[in-house]
């Protein structure tokens, strides 16, 4: 199946902001039309024709939730399958200019910025964010989207502003209020709140680094230092705190401390930019890249988590213990059909 359906499925989960009755009717007919469009799309195997159907849909229902998904599909098809970045920019601009719903305009704006950066152009990210902020406060996820776009485009002032706002969402009450239908355990909430705080600090620090405010960056990152040891089971931080902190240390001439901070992101999660900085830290310490391969594999082994032994059942009721896997290389894949 087409991959973007998976990639953009979460966009559909974002609750709609359609308030009055007329808009609700329009949303209902958009949903029906989108289902029909999907049926036609299932019979096609040609990106050009698929693009046409998605674009027609966006033009017909620019304020619907489905149109945001459809624009995502168009941008994916035009940029990745048809090698037409300009066309992708153009339809994103059209969608944004046709939409009147503030949330839709914001989502199109984020998409427009993303594709514009890829096309080597700029889009006014500050305006995109400010326009929605004039109607209502942005959510955590929206601030995060702006921050991520700002990072891509190198718009550090915008990144700093929204990263700072993200920190205000890092508390249990706000997190629970963001997911009213879920009954998360206290442990899960604590984890998520810390993750929000870690993200906010990491991005705030990163923006400050790029603005050449290195001392402030170090302060922000150090204040979140209690989170730097807070990584997941495999030792990889869930947020890029140590990645940016490592960068700051490297830029301030402390490559050994940088390497220590960067190792999990660079080696376990295979983050390209962390790996580049990790390599640079090695070169700064040792004078050349010689011996780097052996060094990185030794560090990786030293920080690797030894997996716990658990016993689970398969679908025939037989049990398997992970201890029985000793001597084998295996991928453990966590999934669910939902």
């Amino acid at each position: 199946m087409r991959r973007y359906e998976v990639a953009f499925v979460f966009v559909l989960l974002v609750p709609g902001l359609l308030g009055c009755g007329g808009q609700r009717d329009q949303q209902r007919s958009a949903s029906t039309a989108y289902e029909q469009a999907q049926q036609v799309l299932d019979t096609l195997d040609n990106p050009q024709e698929e693009v046409q159907i998605f674009e027609e849909f966006v033009r017909a229902y620019p304020d619907s939730e489905e149109a945001i998904d459809a624009l995502g599909a168009v941008v994916y098809l035009r940029s990745k399958k048809l090698d037409d970045l300009e066309g992708a920019v153009s339809i994103a601009e059209t969608a944004r200019s046709m939409a009147s719903d503030p949330k839709a305009r914001f989502e199109y704006g984020i998409k427009l910025h993303d594709i514009s950066v890829q096309a080597g152009r700029s889009a006014d990210l500050k305006n995109i964010a400010d326009e929605l902020a004039a109607v209502r406060p942005l959510s955590f996820v929206e601030h995060l989207a702006v921050v991520e776009e700002a990072e891509k485009g190198g718009e550090w002032e915008v990144m700093l502003e929204h990263a700072t706002s993200m920190a205000q969402f890092a508390n249990a009450k706000t997190f629970r209020a963001d997911y009213p239908d879920d009954d998360f355990s206290d442990e899960r909430v604590e984890f998520s709140v810390n993750r929000r705080r870690g993200w906010a600090s990491a991005y705030e620090g990163a923006a400050l680094i790029h603005l050449d405010r290195l001392d402030e960056a170090t302060t922000v990152l150090e204040e979140a230092a209690d989170l730097s040891t807070l990584s997941n089971y495999v030792g990889v931080p869930e947020f890029p705190l140590n990645r940016y902190w490592g960068k700051a240390e490297l830029m301030q001439g402390r490559p050994e401390r940088a390497a220590e901070l960067l190792a999990p992101d660079a080696l376990m999660g295979r983050d390209e930019s962390a790996l580049d900085d990790f390599r640079a830290a090695y070169v700064a310490t040792n004078g050349s890249e010689e011996g780097f391969e052996n060094y990185q594999s030794a560090v990786r082994q030293s920080i690797a988590t030894v997996i716990d032994d658990v016993t689970l059942n398969n679908y025939s009721g037989d049990s398997l213990s992970l201890a029985s896997m000793a001597g084998k290389v295996y991928v453990m894949a966590f999934w669910n059909p939902g």
Partner: protein, 102 residues
Amino acid sequence: MELPRLQTIWEKHSDKGFEVIAIESNRETERAAKFIEEAKLGFTCLENGEDDSEVVEGVFQVWGYPSSFIVDRDGRIMYYHLGFDEGDEKKIEEEVLSLLEG
């Protein structure tokens, strides 16, 4: 979807001592079994435990899906991956091959 891609890698390298263990987190037994059958998954498919035996969140701290670990011959987790994008199967295969050779 990640699992069918892992099936391809598994078919290519299972004779070298490579395995895949899929753990379904939600205990959606019927839907999971249907998917496994339709996708013709040949590797080990397990179900998360219940209550005190729950392991996906409780032991492995996995909250996002799909997530995967690559475990070496000594039981060390050498690679972690969250999410699945086109091309990720190549990275996973490279890591697996380097661990099989190492």
